[in-house]
Symmetry: C2
């Protein structure tokens, strides 16, 4: 922890170290990267000099000459959607632990921004983690051929993915509502381009038929609390007694709107959300929702990506990982009201 020379404000390079030790720059490079390639004593001298000069490698130069950038791009459709907070934190922590830098990009729910970001990232990152991709199967597959990709919540054959298993939790939610006496239920759909929403609806429709209850699809609704107002009105108008929302943002927005309209939750209307985001536990009433280990999903995605990047270690890297989901029952669901 030596004092660095006062006034030396330009970061040290391997050349400074080389000059200080009287060796060539390449020797310094090897000493610091290839352990056994250089005499142990020379290496010690070089490391001491590096520490004294407070040396840190220039990542740009490193990237240029080696082809590896040490960065991973993380694409999210909307940074302000709380669902992604835990995901981002998960990827961030795991990437940092592996010595990688995270490049976070907000694609603004646009497939074009997503595509151009990927093209850009292709040169400035070693790999990409893309969440809830809006791209077509073909486009995603084509992108995956050019750069290592792991998708989150997007299932395309040939693209490694981490999928949060909300479809299976959907049946749990349905059974929960049925056990409370509900028979007329609505699904408040997410964006039509959202594969998650489609898969979830398919699972729900199948389960509903199996159990002989009436479940209809309403929407689509944008995944924002503001959309909750329209969703609430649609649900009320359709005459259902319970609804399952695409995500917690819509569900929470519905709670607000229902309260404004004087419709009691859960007495007059039960609401189930999805994701268990920040706020789901303290909204009014607290939201019954489908919870999953989101941060862990981020970590797993990073692990899968790093396995692609360094195929040397463990042999078989899985190409698909399913994260379990369970229903968390809170105050927004209750017995159907016998006397309306």
């Amino acid at each position: 922890m030596a004092m660095q020379a006062a006034g030396t404000d330009r970061p040290a390079t391997i050349h400074d170290i080389a000059a200080l030790c009287g060796v060539a720059a390449s020797t310094v490079s090897r000493a610091l990267s290839t352990p056994g390639r250089v005499n142990i004593r020379t290496r010690a001298r070089i490391e001491a000099a590096a520490a004294e000069l407070n040396y840190t490698p220039n990542s740009q130069a490193k990237a240029l000459s080696s082809g590896r950038t040490g960065a991973v791009g993380v694409l999210v459709p909307d940074i302000t959607n709380p669902f992604y907070f835990d995901l981002i934190r998960g990827t961030q922590l795991q990437l940092k632990a592996a010595g990688y830098t995270q490049l976070l990009v907000d694609t603004e729910e646009s497939d074009e921004v997503e595509a151009s970001s990927m093209e850009q990232l292709r040169k400035s990152a070693d790999g990409i983690i893309v969440t809830a991709s809006r791209l077509s199967d073909e486009a995603l597959l084509a992108a995956a051929a050019k750069v290592p990709i792991v998708a989150i919540n997007r299932d395309v054959v040939g693209v490694p993915a981490v999928v949060i298993d909300t479809p299976s939790a959907t049946s749990q939610a349905l059974d929960h509502l049925i056990s409370l006496g509900h028979t007329r239920i609505a699904y408040m759909a997410g964006p039509i381009t959202s594969q998650s929403s489609t898969l979830r609806w398919n699972a729900l429709a199948a389960a509903a038929e199996d159990r002989g209850v009436d479940v209809r699809r309403l929407g689509p609704f944008a995944p924002k609390t503001q959309s909750g107002a329209a969703a609430a009105d649609a649900a009320v108008h359709s005459g259902v007694t319970a609804c399952i929302a695409f995500n917690d943002l819509i569900a929470i927005g519905m709670l607000q709107r229902l309260r404004e309209r004087g419709i009691r939750v859960p007495e007059d209307m039960s609401v189930v959300g999805c994701d268990d985001i920040f706020g789901a536990d303290f909204c009014n009433p607290p939201l019954t929702t489908m919870a999953s280990p989101i941060e862990q999903a981020g970590r797993v995605a990073v692990s899968m990506l790093l396995a692609q990047l360094n195929p040397l270690a463990g042999g078989g890297s899985r190409s698909r990982s399913l994260m379990p989901t369970h229903l968390t029952v809170r105050g927004s669901t209750g017995p159907v009201n016998a006397a309306p």
Copy 2:
């Protein structure tokens, strides 16, 4: 939008363009960057070739040779704190508009991580926006001497800053509570290293003395909802009828704890938060809080930083910007309960 040659999976470089046009690589570089430096017809040819080859410059190489990276680091203490969502979105949008890339770093509320991130970013970014810095005045000033910096919510002479004016809103909050009959009030302090918390307390204490009411400081509390439990217990134990929390996370946590303990809000205890984060409007009861244009704060910070980076344009760039704050009254504050 010409079809790129099938199989050409390596991104095009200026050399490819040069070869295609029969000119030197440097001419291509100039044609694409220095407008008047190259014959307009040559330039047109080069631009056509660039479009045909689907050329995008390699940012690493650009950074290495020019010294400018085209990236700006944004340091936040905790990505999962909703306060930063809007801030991050503000910086992201403004940076993208100016053609810069945002490097988001979570410093984990640690001054050491913050310092090392800055050192790292010094080489990989053109400037840094640091929020709620945990560094000492000297350290921050020293860092600002090495790399362009704009601080958010950290006021140090010599470091350009965007400051959200919560201290002045604090008096508004106090007057609001006084007008409701409260005379015994607590301030639930944030981390001791938080300058915002200190400034806010100073303003509050001065205003309290001025108005002749009893305001005591409790804490410190970590800026998380979990800390709200301890904060609530401390407030109840101290016998106050109202409290002003360092931020909404603590306030929301208090609401939950008070509800658990059967203490009614606002009948038995009024609670004021700060920041108007996601969730403040739909918690139970909705939170009275101090709101500010957070996203705009992010944009302003970016503008100030870019003004530092390109001093050419508008002459006098301000070195300090104060964002207004106002009290948003919701359901968590009410008249003091005469008969306890």
